[in-house]
């Protein structure tokens, strides 16, 4: 399953216009200065910002193409996202947050809860399963967000600084967890990061975005 993207959108003062391709099972690190448009790229891919021009194709399926009048809604894309700003559901417990996505995949309640618990244990938060998300610390919330996105085993993964706010040990653990998960998973993975270590550890190809329009491969 490969990802083909040509993205052109205008958000008020900011214009994004880039094209790239991510092969099946490939990990790409998306880097670049603040405000370059990295998050906007992920949002366009996830369907949270419809394209103005260009097209998005994932595994041969057209997801967005304004010219052809095609737009697949976010909930139908099966693309997992870790948001830069977390976005845990504050009124749900950590466990319910992680289990949330499994429901739409038709997983039964007991199975959902056991899988979610499993994921919370993998990110080291087994003890906080029943804690309301609004009471979690910054780093804990980040881990739950990662678990929530990985738990649904989506066709593609978009991670926006997933390791920010994590303590040093946790960063190492999470990188390892992610690496192992990605090894099982096919499908492309796009990782936004400011830490070169992330790129190295995950063995990812690196794309550097500047000013919304300059996208270049780094070696």
């Amino acid at each position: 399953m490969s990802l083909d993207a040509a993205l052109a959108v205008q958000l008020g003062r900011f214009g994004l216009d880039v094209a790239f391709r991510v092969d099946d099972g490939e990990r790409v690190a998306l880097v670049g200065p603040n405000g370059a448009g990295k998050t906007t790229v992920l949002f366009a891919l996830a369907g949270l910002i419809p394209l103005e021009r260009g097209r998005i194709e994932l595994g041969g399926v057209l997801l967005d193409d304004p010219e052809a009048g095609v737009f697949v809604a976010p909930e139908a894309r099966d693309i997992g996202v870790v948001f830069q700003d977390g976005r845990l559901f504050p009124h749900l417990s950590a466990l319910e947050n992680v289990a949330f996505g499994l429901r739409s995949r038709g997983v039964k309640r007991a199975e959902r809860r056991s899988r979610a618990r499993d994921w919370l244990e993998r990110v080291g938060l087994g003890a906080l399963a029943d804690a309301r998300a609004s009471t979690l610390s910054g780093g804990e919330a980040r881990k739950v967000a990662l678990a929530r996105a990985l738990a649904i085993a989506p066709r593609a993964l978009l991670l926006d600084e997933p390791f920010a706010s994590l303590d040093e040990d946790a960063v190492i653990d999470m990188r390892e967890t992610l690496r192992r998960h990605l090894a099982e998973l096919r499908g492309p993975c796009l990782l936004v990061t400011h830490d070169p270590a992330d790129t190295r550890m995950l063995g990812a190809r690196t794309l550097r975005l500047v000013d919304g329009t300059d996208l270049e491969e780094m070696r």
């Binding site: 909930e75 139908a76 948001f83 949330f100 429901r103």
Partner: protein, 266 residues
């Protein structure tokens, strides 16, 4: 992370205190005056009268049913107004508010024209199913719903709009349909506004009088709710009417205070 309640109460700033006192006086003094003038001796008598008790029961039944019906029909409407993207949304919202503005008796006449024996829909209901709404309890519920539902719709819509769309987006990327996003994210997060809307709707339905008496009529034991009984009694026995009003207020007060704060979103 949430902060807990701070130690020690702090004094209110004057620009808040002054209007709060004026507002409380404006609402409170008339109520107090009514209570002060109340025929306390009669209160017990009225409360013991089977007519008043029946009317009270009917009031509670109708207002709760109307609130339930309003919630069932109004919440989806509010969601559509808050999150739907279609032309004429503002017009729809304005239309939803019109029953609030219509003088209640005219509202009752409009209901008769629609759901009465000869009404647009009513004639068909009668012929096809033998359903007649005027002079029935269901008719009273319908009339109260007509008048009270707009309050719920508009209050709930305000609440839905205030919900952080970013969370709704996150839920969508997790594969949740729009309906599920609404049920699991928007609705619980808008609970305070929804609770307020339901409370407004219930209170309005409980006090409703004009549309109900015009559409459903006024038969003690069948369609006579407490406000109708009050209105009728006002003509000849104003003291009894005041006593019944106090009963109505007391019951409403008890219910509103007893509501768990979380239910009304508090």
């Amino acid at each position: 992370m949430k902060a807990r309640r701070s130690r020690g109460a702090r004094a209110l700033p004057l620009p808040v205190l002054l209007p709060v006192l004026c507002g409380a006086a404006l609402l409170g003094v008339p109520l107090f005056a009514l209570v002060a003038r109340a025929p306390w001796g009669r209160l017990a008598t009225e409360l013991a009268s089977p007519e008043v008790l029946t009317a009270l029961q009917l009031s509670l039944y109708c207002s709760v049913s109307a609130t339930a019906l309003s919630t069932l029909l109004g919440v989806p409407l509010a969601w559509l107004l808050a999150r739907g993207e279609f032309r004429g949304r503002r017009l729809l919202r304005a239309l939803v508010m019109l029953p609030m503005i219509l003088p209640p008796v005219v509202g009752g006449v409009a209901l008769l024209l629609a759901f009465g024996r000869r009404g647009l829909v009513g004639a068909w209901l009668d012929q096809a199913f033998g359903i007649q709404l005027p002079f029935t309890l269901a008719g009273a519920v319908l009339a109260e719903t007509f008048v009270a539902m707009p309050f719920l719709v508009i209050a709930a819509e305000g609440g839905f709009r205030q919900v952080d769309r970013r969370l709704e987006q996150a839920a969508a990327t997790l594969g949740a349909s729009r309906l599920r996003v609404f049920a699991r994210i928007t609705l619980p997060l808008a609970a305070p506004a929804l609770g307020a809307g339901a409370a407004l709707c219930w209170a309005r339905a409980l006090g409703e009088f004009g549309a109900t008496i015009t559409f459903a009529g006024n038969l003690p034991g069948r369609t006579q709710t407490l406000p109708l009984a009050v209105y009728i009694a006002l003509e000849t026995r104003p003291e009894a009417a005041f006593a019944m009003s106090l009963v109505l207020l007391a019951v409403a007060l008890a219910v509103l205070v007893a509501l768990r704060e979380t239910w009304t979103g508090r």
